[in-house]
Each structure stands twice: as C-alpha cells, then as structure tokens.
C-alpha cells in the first residue's frame, strides 16, 4: 500500500463524476433512513410539548408552566453537577487507561482491554445491585463511604463512571492507536521532552477523539435514567423528571417539554463538534509510519499497576453481582445455590426472552454496523453537498441526546399511527432492531468518523485519478483499514442491544420479550437474586461474543493490519 501511495499527488477537485452521483444517492438513502428512524418519530413526540392534553396547539404554555416550578431548577443543577463530575472522572480514568493500552508495552494489554469493556456488557441494574451489596446499609464495606449514603449523588456518579468508561475508552483507543511515528521521531531528534511531546504531538493528534469522548460521556450521563432511578434515591435529575411525568403521571406533554430541555446540551455539543472538526487534519497520511511504543520499564510498570487497579475494581463489581445471583436471600440467608437461574419458573418469559435478546442483538450488530459505517463514510468522504451532509451529521448526533424512554414512546406515536404504512413492523422484532440501532447510533457513528478522519483523503484522490470506482476503494482500502473500528462498532451494538431497557420496554410484544426487560421486572418484583442471575447471563453471553470477536479480530488483524507495522 505504501508503494502505491508513495507517488506524491496534489489534491485535485474533480468535476461531478459518476462516482459522486452514486455517493450522493447513498447520502440521500442514509438521509431517508435517519428521517424515518429518528426525525419523524421525535417530531411526533416532541411536538406534544406544544399541545394540551387533547392535542390542541397551545404554544409555549407547557414551557411556561414547567419553568415556573422551583423543583425544576434543582433538577437542572443536579443534572449538570452529576454530568460534569462524572465526565471529568471518566475521561481522566479512560484517557490514562487508553494511553497505557496503546502507548506502553506493559504485559496483559489484551486482557486489560477486554476487562475494561465488561461494564458495557452489564445492564445498569447489575452495578446497582453490586453497589447496594457493597455500600448499602447491609453492605460489606459500607464504612468506606464514611457515613454517606450510596443512594444519592455518590451512587449515581459511581454508576455513571462504571457505565460510561468503556464508551470513552472505545473512542480514545481508536484515536490513540492511529499515530504517525515520524512525528515522534522528529520530536526526539528536536530534543523535545516527553511532556512537551505529549502536548505538542499527542494531544493535538487525538483532539477530535478526545472532544468526541467528552461529549459522548456528558450526554450519556445527562440522559441516563436507569442509574439515577435504581440507585439515585430522591436525588432529582432531568431524566428522572421525564420518568415521573410519563410513567408516574402519564403526562406525555410535560415529558416532551423536559425532553426538549435535555436536547439543549446535546445541540451545544454538536456545534462545538462542528467547529473542532473543521480544524482536524488527517493524521494517518498515506506516507505515515505507524508509531511503535518503545520499552520503558518504569513507565510500563506504572501503567500496568494503574490498569490492574481499574481492572480489579471492575471485576469486583461483576464478582459481587455473581455472588448476589447465588445467594438464597440476602442478607438473612446466605446459602449459595443455582436456584435463581431457573428462569422458567420466574417472570419475564424465562429462557425464551434470553433467546430473543440474542437474536435481537445479532440483527442489530449486523445491520446496524452496515448502515452506520456506510453512512459515516458517505458523510465524511462525499465532496460538496454540504447542506445534506451537515443535516445528516446532525441527525446522527441527535439520538444520543434523546433518553431511550422518549425514543420508545416516540416510536409508538409514529409507527403505530393508523396512517403509517410502516405500521406493520410495530410489535415485531424489526421495530426493536430499528429502535436499538437508532438509540446507539451516535457513539458508533463517532467511532466510524474518528477512524475515517484519520485516513488521508489522498487515498481517495489517488483512486479517483487512477479511475478506480469509489466503492472499490471503499471495500479494498477503507473497510480493511478501518476494520478494527468496524468490528468495535458491531460488538458495541451487540452488547448494548443485550442490555438496553429504556427504549424497548415500550415496544416489545408477547413474542419478543427481552432478557434485559425481564431482569428489570424481576428486580421490580423484589426478586433481586434472579435479577442478578439474569444480568450475569447477559454479561456471559456478551462476553462470549466478545471473546469470539477478539479471536476474529486477531486473525483478521494479522491479514489486514500488517501495514500498521514496519
């Protein structure tokens, strides 16, 4: 590849070719998908914020009512407090971890990477159960909190950090693993110190990924309602306010108002993202030489200890949940046994729901990855057509800002509308797959973009000048180069589909019960141990798929990623 690209070529701006037309066609397809799967449902839901109970347009009256409630300002304050603190902690932890994984030669890097992804495999119920067993009033190490209660901001932040760490890590590892070794060689020959190199080479190189990660974590935290609901006690945040309005009082109009308020930070983040993106320079130029970390015993040991500590905490949380699933009746009868795994005598569709979840996750991974990666490629590489691309880019970022509960209800309003010809998918597996792809679109899209942005446009320019059709470049160059990211996206979609609750809870039917919903309902019914057991099964299933994925990646990496080495 390096030989093919070694011929220096100036950037050329070709006329609208056949390729461009095809690419624009694809852009429109992606646009139609986003409109159907995201924009229209959200319109049906959010327009309710301007309506009264009977559907009459009343302008901003609901907003006026909402903003006159004093409790609201506490929720906004609380939401921002939780989001900022969680983001700072998560990004710091994830950055060092990602740095250790990509830039050190510490042992067990593969194992550390796998362990750090485990939180992604767990439904939010699982850390909540573990935290209660660790820090609750009967908790085994509740002294650590020094009298503070776990049911409140502390519990929420701990839960959010656990839940968002892999998300941040995924983006940061992608960003850090693509670096041009020549820049570092230049830095060394210019006698720049380690710290100077870090701030002048490393940070600018991953700026885009870092900002994406910050914005993803912030938005994930501010829209998440699972963790505040399960462990937050009475600490009100915006997402639980929506829950109160919609589930507690069936007030869809007010729920829509709070959802619109929640969109504001996401739109702000989108604007920031646009500005940064304009300044992003391709890192992996066609002449780049992959960076290979050098051995440094002190640094490698320090990084190893750091990663081992984080990994230990994650494993301890999972371990406690496994223990919880084996205990007969916490904390009064600690006999261990497997009775809690006999799901067929319990709620939620038994083992059948587990099978449904696996199928749903598989469909989501396969179709979601195809749609999302193609979409990201078209948005990134098509020339011109700026308006459509910008609009689609916005629609790709939007789902992240929408709490799953709102998305789920929006799908009812849109897909179950009597005049909607797509109504046939309502109540089937298809709608569950579509809503799950939409719900987790943003992070996958950003991962794909991060990988694509680090590729030099010269690849396309060379191909175009050699009259190679773009799809051949796409399949022969782009897909193989981005394969790690593509596989990461598919696994991300798979595991999230296994654990997601908030959107699908409104959309599953009697034939499509899901394991994650079953676990939530078991916990709600007081069956904590079976709920922990079902959560553990979800983790095990996702972990198995992940291990298969790791083996596959390794095989493929040997074949397709050899160019990354010298």
């Amino acid at each position: 590849m390096t030989t093919a690209a070694a011929i220096p070529l100036p950037e050329i701006k070709p006329k609208l070719s056949g390729d461009d037309r095809i690419m624009r066609g694809f852009i429109l397809l992606v646009g139609v998908w986003m409109v159907i799967a995201v924009l229209l449902p959200l319109y049906f839901m959010l327009s309710k914020s301007f309506e009264d109970n009977d559907g009459n347009f009343i302008g901003l009256l609901n907003y006026a009512e909402y903003f006159s409630t004093p409790a609201l300002f506490y929720s906004i304050e609380n939401s921002f407090f939780i989001a900022v603190v969680s983001t700072v902690i998560t990004i710091t932890l994830a950055f060092i971890y990602a740095y250790a994984l990509t830039r050190s030669l510490m042992p067990f890097r593969g194992a550390f990477k796998v362990i750090a992804m485990i939180p992604l495999l767990a439904p939010s119920l699982l850390p909540a159960i573990s935290f209660v067993y660790f820090f609750g009033n009967q908790g085994v190490i509740k002294g650590v909190l020094m009298g503070e209660t776990i049911y409140g901001p502390i519990g929420i932040i701990m839960g959010e950090v656990f839940y968002t760490l892999p998300h941040a890590l995924m983006i940061l590892v992608t960003a850090l693993s693509t670096a041009d070794g020549r820049l570092y060689e230049a830095a060394i020959s210019l006698r720049a110190g380690k710290i100077k190199t870090f701030f002048t080479v490393t940070l600018p190189g991953i700026k885009y990924g870092l900002i994406s990660a910050i914005f993803v974590v912030f938005t994930l935290v501010i829209t998440d309602f699972g963790i505040p609901k399960v462990i937050g006690g009475q600490f009100n945040v915006l997402a639980t306010d929506i829950y109160k309005q919609v589930i507690g009082q069936q007030n869809f109009e007010m729920g829509a108002v709070v959802s619109v308020v929640l969109l504001i930070p996401a739109i702000a983040a989108f604007l920031v993202d646009r500005i940064v993106q304009r300044k992003q320079v391709a890192l992996l130029t066609a002449r780049a030489v992959p960076l290979e970390p050098k051995k440094s015993r002190g640094f490698d040991t320090a990084m190893g200890i750091y990663c081992a500590t984080i990994a230990f905490v994650i494993l301890a949380i999972i371990g406690m949940a496994i223990y919880a699933s084996l205990v007969t009746f916490w904390p009064y009868n600690l006999t261990l046994g497997f009775t809690n795994y006999d799901f067929d005598v319990m709620d939620g569709g038994g083992w059948e729901s587990f099978g449904n979840s696996l199928r749903m996750a598989a469909y989501t991974a396969v179709f979601g990855t195809a749609i999302i990666f193609t979409g990201a490629y078209m948005v990134e590489k098509t020339k011109g057509f700026a308006l459509a691309r910008g609009a689609i880019q916005f629609l790709c970022i939007l789902p992240m800002a929408v709490p799953g509960m709102v998305l789920g209800l929006a799908y009812i309003f849109f897909f179950n509308h009597p005049d909607n010809p797509l109504g046939m998918i309502y109540g089937t597996m298809v709608i569950l797959v579509v809503v799950t792809i939409s719900h987790f679109y943003t992070v996958s899209h950003l991962t794909a973009l991060t990988a694509l942005k680090q590729m030099d446009p010269e690849f396309e320019a060379v191909s175009a000048s050699l009259k190679v059709p773009f799809f051949r470049t796409f399949l022969r160059v782009t897909v193989p180069v981005c394969l790690p990211a593509i596989l990461d996206i598919s696994i991300y979609l798979f595991v999230n589909a296994m654990t997601t609750v908030s959107a699908v809870i409104f959309l599953y039917s009697s034939d499509t019960n899901l394991a994650s919903v079953a676990a939530l309902n078991m916990d709600d019914a007081g069956d904590v141990a079976p709920a922990a057991a079902m959560s553990v099964m979800i983790v095990l299933a996702s972990a198995t798929v992940r291990i298969l994925h790791a083996i596959l990646t390794r095989g493929l990496a040997r074949r397709l990623q050899a160019w990354r080495k010298r």
Binding site: T69, G136, T428, F471
Partner: protein, 347 residues
C-alpha cells in the same frame, strides 16, 4: 466480511428486514382465536391465569403483554389512536378510569355481575370495568433491623411521625408511583385536607428517602436496607414467604387501596372472545384463583384468609373516593412536589 460490492450489503439489509417481518408474522399459534391482553399482574401468576382460563375455554389463546402499572398505562395511552390490546386484565382501576376518560374502554356487563361487591365495579351501567382483587397499603417492618436500630414496631400511621423513626422510613414518591399516590390520597381522606398535609409534613422529617417504585420500600425493608417501608401488603407477604424477617402492619387508622380490574378495549375486532374472557374474569373460579394471592377479592363471600396476610385487611380498608382522588390528582401532586420534592437537597 466478504462483501464484494456495495449494493449487495444494502440488499442484505432489505432482505433481512423482510425476513424479520415474515418470521414475526408466522409465529401466530393454532388456536381458534388469540387475544392480546395487557396486564400488570405479577409475571409468575400469568401462566396460571391463562392455564385456568384455558381449562374452561381451550379455544381462546391469551397473548400477554406485561409490565409495571406505569409502563402499561403509558403504553395503552400512547397507542390510543390505534389500539393493539383487545383486553386489559389486571391493571389498577385508577389507570382504567384514566383510559375511560379518554373514551378507550368498551362498556360491557359480564355474566354474574350481580355477585360482585358493588365496590368492585364501575358505577355506570353497563360498567366500563370490573374489579378482580384489592391491593392495600401497609407498612413493612423489618424485625431484625428494628431491634438493632431501636425502632419499635409501629401500629398506626401517626406512629411513623415519632422521633424514634427519624431516618428509618421509606415511602414511594407519589409523582412516580401509583402506590405513593394511593398513600397520599388516603391520608388526605383519613385526616382531612389540613390534617393530612400536617401529617405528611411531620412524616417528611422522618423519611430517609422517597423511591420511584411502589414495591421498592417493602423490598428494601425485606433486604434490611431500611427498617420501615411504606408499601403494599401483597409484596410484604411475598417477601415474608421467601424468608424475610418482615411483619406486615395494617395501621389502625385505616388503609388506602386500589384494585386490579378488567376491561375490554374499544375497537377490538375480537369482541366475542373478549367478552368470554371478561365473563370468566369475574367468575367464582377466577375469584378463588385471585384469592390464592390476594386476601380481598371481588366476590367477598368466597374470600379465605391468605398466608402471611394480616386478617384485619378487609375491615381496615377506607371508603376510598376514587372520583375525588382522580379529580384532585394534579393539585395534590403539585402541592406534594412543592412541599417535599423541591426540598431534596441540591448538591
């Protein structure tokens, strides 16, 4: 990953979508008729309910869609313009009243209606809904933690405002949970508007925190996370049966209650089968089945005591004015939020 050309991957998407639709379509079973029934009944009871019904009507298959009361009610309301449910069997009567206001219920007088306690039916004729069993408020008291924390067993609601209970009581937030609203509305009916709020002001001082789910306080008490949980008796009895050191207290002043009820959804294409199911749902056989878990049922003469359920439940149920509660719900909730929810300390 052997995609050869782009269009192929798109064809795959379309093909699989088609397969998905197809497989969802063929999973219909071989019964003469299938009813889609929405419910909030405990999942572990659903198989039993369907099986007993099929003993008498083997030709009608029940397809359950089950979730918690709040989710099912929200789902039904969201589907208002194109309802998917044929029957609702086992949802809070207050939720059904809400659906009734939206004109979503099909009035029907099932066979044997006259045997039903008048409390357990919609007062209109024919009724929009009929009741199955009552779920009643109660206090779950953890005896082990009580002894450890020096918190005595309460006997009345007023007991909970005593200083000994400070930080040892949990109740559901009425803005999130129907059970929470049931408690608040019953206190306002028992103690009067002014007395009720005064009671809640005092109670608030002792509350450790408010939860979003109505069954959670009792569950927390069962797990020793709190000593006193304000919840409902059914959940308490279940946890006790599993070995939790719980006492279920029926406060002497009286208890709020709601019932699980049944109704046909307007616009169902299977009206006949739906009526058959509703007929059966108030039959003696069905009532005896409800009685296996609930002490108070639609046909009171059939009721037998239920294990772990306090015997005085039926006599302590207040004369609950559901119409008043529904009409004043919004006002009560915003008053409650103003008094207690905005006090939850911001960080």
């Amino acid at each position: 990953m052997h995609i050869k050309s782009m269009p192929k991957s798109i064809t795959r998407v379309l093909a699989a979508t088609a397969v998905g639709v197809f497989t969802a379509g063929i999973s219909a079973p071989l019964f003469a008729e299938t009813l889609t029934v929405y419910t909030a009944v405990e999942a572990e009871d659903l198989k039993k309910y369907a099986a007993r019904f099929n003993e008498d009507h083997p030709d009608i298959k029940i397809k359950w869609v089950r979730d918690s009361t709040g989710i099912v009610t929200a789902k039904l309301l969201a589907e208002k313009n194109n309802p998917k449910a044929d029957v609702v069997w086992g949802l809070a009567a207050t939720s059904l009243m809400l659906l009734g206001e939206e004109n979503m219920l099909q009035p029907y007088a099932p066979k044997g209606l006259d045997k039903l306690d008048p409390k357990f039916r919609d007062s209109k004729n024919p009724p929009s809904w009929t009741g199955m069993d009552a779920w009643v408020a109660s206090i779950c008291y953890n005896t082990v933690e009580g002894k450890k924390n020096g918190v005595p067993k309460p006997t009345s609601w007023k007991d909970l405002t005593k200083p000994a209970y400070k930080g040892h009581v949990i109740m559901p937030n009425p803005n999130s949970s129907g059970t929470g609203f049931l408690d608040v509305s019953s206190w306002l009916q028992l103690f009067g508007e002014e007395g009720g709020w005064k009671f809640m002001d005092a109670l608030h001082e002792n509350i450790a925190r408010y939860t979003h789910s109505g069954s959670k306080p009792c569950k927390l008490a069962a797990a020793g996370e709190i000593t006193v949980g304000v919840s409902f008796a059914f959940r308490g009895a279940k946890s006790k049966a599993k070995g939790a050191p719980l006492d279920i207290v029926i406060p002497t002043e009286g208890i709020g209650w709601d019932m699980e009820a049944t109704s046909i959804i307007k616009g169902t294409k299977k009206l006949k089968a739906a009526q058959t199911l509703v007929d059966w749902s108030i039959s003696e056989k069905a009532n005896k089945m409800y009685n296996e878990g609930y002490a108070v049922i639609g046909i009171p003469s059939l009721a037998k005591p239920v294990k772990y359920f306090p015997k005085e439940v039926a006599t302590k149920m207040i004369d609950n004015d559901f119409a008043w509660a529904a009409k004043n719900r919004k006002r009560i909730l915003s008053e409650w939020q103003k008094r207690f929810d905005s006090k939850s300390d911001p960080k």
